[in-house]
């Protein structure tokens, strides 16, 4: 702590202000550096492109997130297993999952899958979460891109 009389002609109040501002800048800088360093570790999921670049060994537990490619959901004959493709616009990963998906899981919408890659590059998920985007829309027909409707029809048809 700087004493009040360390610098002549400067009021103690101003000294404290200068000290506080300098300390604040240092703390913000440290915080920014820390979060930047965390960038990769703190990510909640890999996108398909990141997963390909990261060379993940088959069988390793990973979380994959992306958009469910339109027209890619196929329901298998057992009625519970689905196959679909997750994409981030650059890379595409085929995913298989057996179980119940959240209501908002739909083609053209975001989804997150927990699971592992098989040797053939297929991702076998043991849990699927739906991601919601930032858009909130009123339910008029002219607003809806009809994602939700598409999957319901497909599910019934399978």
């Amino acid at each position: 702590m700087i004493c009040a009389d360390a610098i002549p002609n400067v009021k103690p109040k101003q000294q404290r202000l200068i000290l506080a501002v300098v300390a604040l800048i240092a703390v913000i800088g440290a915080g920014l550096l820390a979060t930047l360093a965390l960038r990769d570790q703190a990510a909640y999921f890999f996108t398909p492109a990141e997963a390909k670049a990261a060379t993940i060994t088959p069988g390793e537990e990973v979380r994959l997130g992306g958009v469910v490619e339109r027209g890619s959901i196929e329901r298998q004959t057992d009625g519970l297993t689905i196959a679909f493709r997750l994409t981030d616009g650059t890379a595409v990963v085929p995913v298989r999952y057996t179980g119940i998906v959240p209501d908002l899981f739909a083609e053209g919408s975001g989804a997150v899958a927990d699971g592992r890659f098989r040797a053939d590059g297929t991702f076998v998920a043991d849990r699927i979460l739906a991601k919601h985007d930032e858009r909130y829309m009123a339910p008029q027909m002219d607003h809806i891109p009809l994602n939700a409707g598409d999957t319901v029809v497909e599910g019934d048809a399978a």
Binding site: K13, R16, L17, A20, A23, L24, V27, I28, A30, G31, T35, L38, R39, A42, A43, Y44, F45, F46, T47, G65, V101, P102, D103, L104, F105, A106, S109, V112, I128, L129, A130, K131, H132, D133, E134, R135, Y136, M137, A138, P139, Q140, H143, I144, N147, A148
Partner: protein
């Protein structure tokens, strides 16, 4: 007790302001919640569960805004040593923690039907949970000593340094892949359609006024508490 000369002036403003904030705030909350629950249509994809946003968004704003106010109070305490800085910091901490908890709880309730999970350790949720712990730490910090109104220099520094978490919460959905969606309302406009958006204005305003009323009530209580303490001490000294 020259330190309470200024608080006296504060009290003369706070006394009539408290019921005004409380009344207008509650009216805005009631109307906003009624509109959000009964007037606006269900959201196109989420259905009725989207209505929780009319509570979740104000709670998130007040949890984060509360800490910014706490940090400013800490800075004022450190630099200008204003007698009301510590009082306001103490007063902000509890409602701030409350709204942060409401934000986490409503988010979790919404997350189950929407995402399919109550809780995930993604950047937004984790950093918001850290904010709740920061509040609880601050409350424990300022309540451990003898002091009733002012806060220690260490507590003030804690409040200022803790503010680093606020931009992290805000940017968490941009910096890291996260389950939580990016901001719906930005300076570039709103991704919530006007038809669904308007009750949010009422609840954000209403809860903000309610927060202000809580802070004023707590500040008055803390000042009264300190006054009682001082009088008792003086009586004890006079014997």
């Amino acid at each position: 007790m020259h330190r309470f000369a200024n608080p006296t002036r504060f009290l003369s403003i706070a006394r009539p302001l408290t019921p005004a904030l409380l009344g207008i705030g509650l009216a805005a909350i009631l109307w906003g919640c009624y509109a959000g629950l009964a007037i606006v249509p269900p959201e196109a994809r989420q259905g009725d569960s989207a209505r929780i946003l009319y509570i979740h968004v104000p709670a998130a704003w007040l949890g984060m805004g509360g800490w910014m106010a706490l940090a400013i109070a800490g800075l004022v305490q450190l630099v200008w040593r204003h007698p009301l800085a510590g009082v306001s910091a103490r007063a902000i901490a509890v409602p701030g923690a409350l709204f942060t908890a409401i934000c986490l709880a409503t988010g979790s309730i919404w997350g189950k039907p929407t995402w399919g999970t109550w809780w995930e350790w993604d950047g937004r949720m984790t950093s918001m949970l850290v904010l709740l712990f920061l509040y609880l730490g601050f409350i424990a910090f300022v309540n451990q000593g003898e002091e009733r109104a002012a806060i220690s220099r260490a507590a003030a520094i804690y409040a200022v340094v803790g503010a680093i978490n606020i931009p992290i919460i805000n940017r968490s959905v941009v910096w890291w892949n996260s389950l939580h969606q990016p901001a719906s309302i930005t300076t570039g406009g709103s991704a919530i359609e006007p038809e669904l958006l308007w009750p949010l204005g009422f609840t954000v305003l209403g809860f903000s006024l309610l927060f202000g009323a809580f802070v004023l009530m707590r500040m008055r209580a803390i000042l009264a508490d300190a006054k009682v303490e001082a009088r008792l001490r003086r009586l004890a000294a006079e014997g």
